[in-house]
Structures are given as structure tokens and as C-alpha cells.
């Protein structure tokens, strides 16, 4: 698999790992290792003043090796997303930001207009911006033009595990994009990740499907293998689909015909 680049960083792993909803920090740590993930996502939240002693998620992550991709989840407007991005940057772990602006309803679908505004502003301020977006090829192009370092179309709504609901759109996004396309959200099982990669995604971001699996560490490894298989398939070029069968060995030298010819000569 060829390495690829986002925001000046060369990446080898094509599995981004979300760090939410793991049963405990130890399992998270093992899952990060099993996934061989280089990019990890986080959220920014208020410190609970009555539970300051609790472990912070950063204590369990090798901050020297991982690339941190904080998200702006909870933001409903571009202004709120910019504010969260600045708070995240002040933590001193890099300048990557996943713009995530959702109206808090049952779909958590991203707000396209506010996402575009936030992407433009943050890119101008020097952030490496990876917007979580709906799977709209036109919007993804606008985000790229606004300065996105990669675009992150959702496969299906966050946490649903419904997989890639619109493979046609995803394929169009990949065709037109000059930045890496990372499928974010809705991936339910490794075959969804394979499909995303076969369609040409540069990477996938998985969280719930690993964190809430019965065995998150084993599932992290399964996803690692899936993205590798899918990417290698994409780079190898799949065969076109055909309506009718075509035999894999050809009919030119069938044994039955050879036998008949021999017996003819004998007579």
C-alpha cells in the first residue's frame, strides 16, 4: 500500500480510530495498538469539577506517536466550531481539527452551510481541517476549495452501523477530489470498511463499531485487515461486472475434443 499525505504528514495507516465509548482506558490502549492507527480522534468537553481526579483520555495514549484529530462535536454553528478548534489547539497537541457541526437531532447529520463556513475560517487560520460532511460530491468539492486538507463524508449517520448507504455518491466524491477522502461515520463491520476502500477512500474513521464490539481489540485488528484488503483491491483494479458467465479456463483445448480427434485418426 502506498503511503499518503494529509497536512504535510505522511501516513501509512488507513484506519483512523475514534476513542469514544470504549469499556475502559486499557481496552482503548490495546485497540489503538491492534488497529495500528496513526490518527486518533477526541472530543473537547468541560472538565467535570466534581470528578477532577478521573483519568483523562490522554493519559492512555502515546502522545509522541499519534496524530491527534480533535473534533468540534457539540457545535451547532461555525462560530462554536471555531471556538472549540481554538481550545483544542491550545492543548498543544497539533493543529488538526475535524469540523463536526450537527444539529442535535436523531440523525446527527452535519450542517452543510455551517461546516463550509467553519472550514474556510479555520483553514485561513492555519488549521489542518478535516470536515465531517454529508456524502454530497458538490459539497465535498466546495469544502476542498475552502481549504479542507481532506474531506470526511459519512457512510451513514453516526453510530448507526448502517454502512455505506450511497456508494454511488462516494465513488463520485473520490473521482472528483484532489484531497484524501476519509469515510467517517456509520461503518458497522469490516466489510463496510472494505467497500469504502474499494470505492477509493484513502482511509476510514471507525469508532463505535470497534468500541462497542464484544471484543474491541480483536475487532480493531479485523478493521485493520479490512482497510488493507480494500485498499489493495482498489490499487489492483477490480474486473468489470458482466451480465453472463465466462469460463475461467477457455474452451479451446477441451479434453473431450482432443480424445475424439485421436480416435478419428486411429480409424
Amino acid at each position: 500500500m502506498k503511503p499518503y499525505t494529509i497536512g504535510g504528514h505522511t501516513l501509512n495507516s488507513r484506519l483512523f480510530l475514534g476513542t469514544g465509548r470504549f469499556p475502559n482506558p486499557q481496552v482503548l490502549k490495546q485497540a489503538i495498538a491492534a488497529a495500528e492507527a496513526e490518527v486518533l480522534t477526541f472530543a473537547v468537553r468541560r472538565v467535570q469539577l466534581d470528578a477532577v481526579g478521573e483519568d483523562t483520555v490522554l493519559q492512555h495514549v502515546d502522545t509522541g506517536r499519534a496524530i491527534f484529530l480533535p473534533n468540534t462535536s457539540g457545535a451547532r454553528t461555525a462560530d462554536e466550531a471555531v471556538r472549540i478548534a481554538k481550545l483544542a489547539k491550545a492543548a498543544g497537541v497539533g493543529n488538526w481539527i475535524k469540523v463536526e457541526i450537527s444539529v442535535a437531532d436523531e440523525t446527527l447529520l452535519p450542517d452543510p452551510l455551517e461546516t463550509l463556513r467553519a472550514t474556510e475560517r479555520l483553514a485561513k487560520e492555519g488549521f489542518v481541517v478535516l470536515p465531517y460532511t454529508s456524502d454530497d460530491p458538490v459539497l465535498c468539492k466546495h469544502l476542498e476549495e475552502a481549504g479542507a486538507a481532506a474531506v470526511m463524508p459519512g457512510g451513514s449517520p453516526i453510530g448507526t452501523g448502517l454502512g455505506i448507504l450511497n456508494p454511488y455518491n462516494l465513488e463520485r466524491i473520490v473521482e472528483r477530489a484532489n484531497v484524501p477522502v476519509i469515510v467517517d461515520a456509520g461503518i458497522g463491520t469490516p466489510s463496510d470498511a472494505v467497500q469504502a476502500m474499494e470505492l477509493g477512500a484513502a482511509a476510514v474513521l471507525v469508532n463505535t463499531a470497534i468500541a462497542k464490539a464484544r471484543d474491541p481489540v480483536a475487532m480493531a485488528r479485523a478493521f485493520k485487515l479490512a482497510v488493507e484488503a480494500g485498499r489493495e483491491a482498489y490499487e489492483s483494479g477490480r474486473i468489470p461486472k458482466k451480465k453472463y458467465a465466462s469460463a475461467s479456463s477457455g474452451y479451446e483445448s477441451l479434453i473431450s475434443r482432443v480424445t475424439r480427434q485421436v480416435s478419428d485418426e486411429t480409424i
Binding site: 468537553r45 491550545a90 467517517d184
Partner: protein
């Protein structure tokens, strides 16, 4: 004095941002502080004064996707 910390009003006898963090036992935690909407660099916690009515947000990273 009365200051607002993470959305809750508190009666604290403090002079600086560092005093507030000390009060909550966060002086060694990896947190980011915003005072009245402006981020306070950790190197300036000791010298940034907190006045009556100051609104503080103290945030950190949590697990997320």
C-alpha cells in the same frame, strides 16, 4: 468573589487563574482555560488575574469519534 466556572457560579477567594485550578485540584492536569472568551496560555495562568464576575471555561479532551 463570585466567578462562573464551567457554567456554575462559585464563591471563591482566588486572585489568579492558577489559584482557581489549584482550588479544584487541576493544576497538574492537561486542561485548557478560557477566561471571558479568551484562551489563557498555560504559561500565563500564574499572572492572569481573576476578577468578580469572571467567566471561566476549563476543558480537556475526552474520548470521541
Amino acid at each position: 468573589m463570585r466567578i462562573k466556572v464551567n457554567g456554575v457560579w462559585a464563591q471563591l477567594e482566588v486572585r489568579t487563574v492558577a489559584d482557581v485550578l489549584m482550588h479544584y485540584g487541576m493544576e497538574r492536569k492537561r486542561v485548557v482555560v478560557e477566561a471571558n472568551g479568551i484562551i489563557v496560555d498555560s504559561e500565563l495562568w500564574e499572572t492572569t488575574p481573576v476578577a468578580d464576575g469572571t467567566v471561566l471555561e476549563i476543558v480537556h479532551f475526552v474520548g470521541g469519534g
